[in-house]
Symmetry: C2
Subunit: 265 residues, 2 copies
């Protein structure tokens, strides 16, 4: 919200991701934030896809300065030997000069819709920021082979401006999924819920040269949700999907039914 900082101060924007600090998506995201505030990039030195909300608790993490340019010039950046959640923790507690006003994560190569949110390192960076009390948005481009991030960069800039202006409710982050379309062909922004879905999975079993088996995870994604207002439905219809998500996992609607079980019998 505008009142929470002196208007003469520019906002501080932390940028992270899970594809790694040299991924094209984070370069595009940083370029998209250029001019909205002071930028600091803290991202994994190596790709960290599908790490979920992992953090490093048994080993130290390292951070080293990294050359990082946006159109207006060089910005401070650190590459971290850890997960996206580690990056955000280390940035906010140690590397940044003050608490940031906004954390943006991405732009992920590939969607983070439906059940996939729970596996997403991109989303976990934004979740960690929300846990630490900072507004946060995760951006994903719905194209596993994306090369062109011009359109999602423009979307990210619009959404970041809006969040800087309005502020998010406490404990809420935004999970944004952007169709792989030229900006002019996007039909608008849609506030959505996660679709119910599952992976129909299998493991490919192989034998190594020592005759020992190993398994590759394989599978295809199944949308189980034909209802209104889903993230999957939005992106299929060329809308940018904006899902508010939280990190309180309590299934409140089932508390009463479970209390009625005779637990102490």
């Amino acid at each position: 919200m505008a009142e929470r900082r002196d208007l003469s101060d520019e906002p501080l924007i932390l940028i992270s991701n899970d594809d790694g600090i040299d991924a094209p998506g984070i370069l595009a995201l940083a370029a998209a934030m250029d001019g909205l505030g002071a930028i600091h990039v803290v991202a994994p030195v190596n790709e960290q896809s599908a790490v979920g909300h992992a953090i490093t608790v048994r080993d130290p993490v390292r951070a080293r300065p990294w050359p990082f340019r946006v159109p207006s010039g060089e910005v401070p950046a650190h590459a971290v030997t850890g997960t996206p959640a580690d990056c955000v923790k280390l940035a906010i507690n140690q590397l940044l000069p003050r608490t940031p006003d906004l954390v943006v994560s991405g732009i992920n190569r590939g969607p983070n819709t439906a059940v996939n949110v729970i596996y997403s390192g991109t989303v976990s960076a934004a979740t960690e920021a929300a846990i630490l009390g900072v507004d946060a948005v995760a951006f994903s481009l719905c194209d596993w082979h994306a090369e062109d991030y011009e359109s999602p960069g423009r979307v990210a800039r619009l959404i970041a401006q809006k969040v800087l202006q309005k502020g998010l409710p406490h404990g809420i982050l935004l999970n944004v999924n952007i169709p792989a379309r030229p900006f002019e062909e996007l039909r608008g922004m849609a506030v959505t819920r996660q679709a119910r879905s599952r992976w129909e999975e299998s493991f490919v079993e192989r034998e190594d040269p020592l005759k020992q088996p190993y398994y590759w995870l394989s599978g295809h994604f199944v949308n189980l949700d034909e209802g209104e207002n889903t993230d999957l439905g939005a992106v299929e219809n060329d809308y940018v999907s904006i899902t508010p998500i939280h990190y309180d996992l309590t299934a409140y609607e089932h508390l009463d039914a479970l209390k009625a079980w005779d637990w102490d019998e």
Copy 2:
């Protein structure tokens, strides 16, 4: 629910954890399940704490048979080179003779209450089971230095019996936290919600022999929630905390407010 299987068939119970297949907690959990059904253990070969809902997508996983005994004799078991979620995926899709009736995870050494649920590998094994449509319970003992699992084993057996008898709602798993108390001193079972909380974190900065900095995550846990009915409040008062959790992260209560933002301006 009783009607979903032929009563002449014994239930199949998959057991996993994040502390590793040779941790005392999983030995106690398997012993506690002995006699409730056919048991199959599939757990990480190495400790996987704080991995959150990570899965292995870039590398193959390996599973090797592992000698595992419960009081009634030897049971099938596999040690897996992967995360708790990998173990459950591989077990259900590949290693087990059929879909299990129940997945139990733990008994974790240390609590998984409040915000810590999101970092928990123990919970992620149960979450993965719920995603795959199988009833699941995560068990944690509120003692980081636990040696004696007799009391939590008895609690786990009672809860597993109840879940086998009643069945859980679709998409819901139970996150159980057990006070470190003799069974007779536990005051009962309480159905709870996650407490609001945060870690007050810091990183200890050190320098390695090559004069390069590295950081250790450190911090202390802060309960921000003095309300009723929390997981933290239950275990502090010697109740077993049973929290129903789900994996749809949509913050439904904020959808309307966000829709009212002028997104397309």
